[in-house]
């Protein structure tokens, strides 16, 4: 564990990413306590530029809502969208991949056809259709993102399981007389954790981006102030009031960048051979 952190922190990008992510997390958790008011409240003159009126560091938006408050409340929503949709995608992808890889043969064939099927439909288009069908809400958005992002998980887990299944300790478990469930759960899945964690960190980032893209098309949840929503809402007035989109856009950029850097760092750190050569 200690060496893992040492390896991770030795990677400059990952260290940077961790710092940024930590800040975002703190803001997401503690921020709403500092700004208890709803970010939707129209509190000042519309289109107030940043740092012109005390208390409105980042200015106000087209309706006179505080951009700072939106940014801080948005952190929570954006992170939750990213995390929950990733967890949901894992919940779909891991079992499918694990079963395909473990049982092989026809089950593998069937499950992989199913996975390919979802990969064949252009994913963003499918996400749009799903959100439109279910009508935009946090649930439909998270669900749609999960549905379009699980296939890579399934493929990754399948590949890992396939190679782990041939490992002697798994064979030892079979010879010992353990059941399939036990073997998958205790022997195989824990050892797929590293690559899955790496992929998951990237998926959280992608989910945040997807949410913002959906918001751009007007498919955001109008009751939740997320960064994507702010960027989407502010882009039509970008020419008059750059600050409405720039700050949330920058927040997305930083968070996604941080998650990617962490993902890459994890990849390097969890790959012991590479870590040693560094």
């Amino acid at each position: 564990m200690k060496t893992f952190w040492r390896n991770l922190l030795r990677n400059r990008g990952a260290a940077l990413g961790l710092v940024v992510l930590a800040v975002v997390l703190v803001v997401a958790i503690a921020g709403p306590m500092l700004f208890p008011n709803s970010p939707w409240r129209m509190v000042q003159r519309p289109f107030l530029p940043p740092m012109t009126v005390p208390g409105f560091l980042l200015g106000t938006d087209a309706l006179g809502r505080d951009v700072t408050a939106g940014l801080i409340h948005g952190a929570r929503v954006s992170l939750i969208v990213g995390l929950v949709s990733t967890l949901a995608a894992l919940a779909i992808g891991v079992p499918i991949g694990a079963m395909a890889g473990y049982f092989g043969g026809r089950a593998d064939d069937a499950l992989m056809r199913f996975t390919e099927f979802f990969q064949t439909i252009p994913s963003f288009a499918l996400a749009i259709v799903l959100v439109a069908i279910l009508q935009p809400s946090i649930y439909s958005i998270v669900g749609a993102i999960a549905i379009v992002s699980w296939p890579p998980v399934a493929r990754l887990v399948r590949g890992e399981v396939l190679s782990l299944r041939a490992q002697e300790y798994v064979q030892a478990a079979i010879v010992t007389g353990h059941g399939h469930g036990w073997i998958i759960w205790r022997e195989i899945l824990p050892n797929t954790l590293s690559p899955v964690i790496v992929l998951a960190s990237l998926m959280v980032a992608t989910a945040i981006l997807l949410e913002s893209s959906l918001s751009f098309l007007g498919l955001g949840d109008p009751n939740l102030m997320s960064w994507g929503y702010m960027v989407g809402a502010g882009r039509t007035v970008m020419r008059q009031a750059w600050w409405i989109t720039v700050f949330p856009g920058f927040a997305i950029l930083l968070t996604v960048l941080a998650l990617n850097l962490i993902g890459e760092g994890l990849n390097d750190a969890l790959n012991p051979r590479l870590a040693r050569e560094r």
Binding site: L16, A125, I128, V129, T255, R273
Partner: protein, 322 residues
């Protein structure tokens, strides 16, 4: 050859599944094309909506509608667009070239830059320049695509006036031949670059990771032991092998790009299929939407097939492994 036949059969099955799934998905959405058109007409009565439903065949039971549609597909007939009063195939194929032009250019840009950045970063793994390259490549990925697009338009079209801001070509200029091509190329620059830069990060990451992995393999040591120069080692031995997984990814993405450029096409008013899809969705133009899904999924499958064939050409081992 049996390989290709087998793949084609699989493709047909997948396409059929996509048709069925989407057929029901789309119909599960609230509203139908008749309602939308009634809504747009600004005044409506029951007769109007009923007429529209009958005209679109929406008064038939769902299984019948599905059967009719599948029957049409079987004869390569994608049906008639309820709304646009044109055969779906005509609509799609009038938009397909623009989409292919955009996505394939973006694809080429992302692949070229991604591999370049990825290999540069891999060769300097762990150094500051590695971090820098990685971050720069990621910036374009991490910034919302539409935002980059708008900024690009503001800078290069509005402020500088270097490049056209939107569209596929200069409307009404009546250009022909080389002049027209160069006009289209100018229009292509911004959307293709924006989209390409977005996808670049994925390739850069993959190339970097793959190269780091390959460079630890024994044959790279062999190459060094031969006394080959570092450049040759990187290019011929490391990069070539490292590109194999990149090819796989690229194949998956190239297909997905076809249906996935909705945002870029919207911001740049590029008359492609992604936008058509989005509009069809908002208008519940069932046949058109289904048709686009079928065509873009078919493109994905074709791209995957092509990738596999290329892969077989590039990697001699495949023959045994398959």
């Amino acid at each position: 050859m049996s390989f290709i036949v087998q793949r084609l059969v699989k493709m047909v099955v997948v396409l059929l599944a996509i048709v069925v799934l989407n057929f029901f998905l789309i119909r599960a959405a609230p509203g139908d094309p008749a309602l939308v058109m009634a809504g747009e007409a600004g005044a409506s009565d029951e007769i109007f909506v009923a007429q529209l439903r009958e005209r679109f065949g929406l008064d038939q039971p769902l299984p019948v509608q599905l059967a009719l549609y599948v029957k049409g597909i079987a004869t390569l007939d994608l049906g008639f667009s309820f709304r646009q009063q044109m055969p779906v195939a005509d609509l799609i194929f009038s938009r397909l070239p623009a989409t292919l032009l955009l996505t394939l250019s973006a694809f080429a840009i992302s692949l070229a830059l991604g591999v370049l950045f990825g290999s540069l970063a891999a060769r300097r793994a762990g150094s500051w320049s590695d971090t820098l390259i990685t971050v720069v490549a990621l910036v374009f990925y991490a910034t919302p695509l539409f935002w980059v697009a708008l900024m690009a338009v503001l800078v290069f079209s509005v402020t500088m006036g270097w490049l056209p801001a939107f569209g596929y070509e200069t409307v009404g200029a009546g250009l022909t031949g080389v002049a027209r091509l160069s006009d289209i190329a100018q229009h292509l620059v911004l959307p293709a670059t924006t989209l390409g830069l977005f996808f670049m990060a994925t390739y850069a990451r993959m190339t970097r990771a793959s190269m780091l992995q390959v460079s630890r393999l024994d044959f790279v040591k062999t190459a060094r032991a031969k006394g080959l120069g570092e450049g040759v080692i990187q290019r011929r031995h490391v990069l070539r092998n490292a590109l194999l997984p990149v090819v796989t990814l690229a194949g998956l993405q190239a297909g997905t790009l076809v249906g996935g450029a909705v945002l870029t096409e919207t911001v740049f008013a590029w008359p492609g299929i992604g936008r058509l899809m989005y509009e069809a969705l908002l208008q519940r133009d069932y046949n058109l939407l289904l048709g686009i899904f079928v065509v873009s999924s078919a493109m994905v499958l074709i791209f995957n097939l092509v990738t596999d064939l290329i892969y077989r050409l590039v990697d001699p081992r495949i023959e045994i492994k398959a």
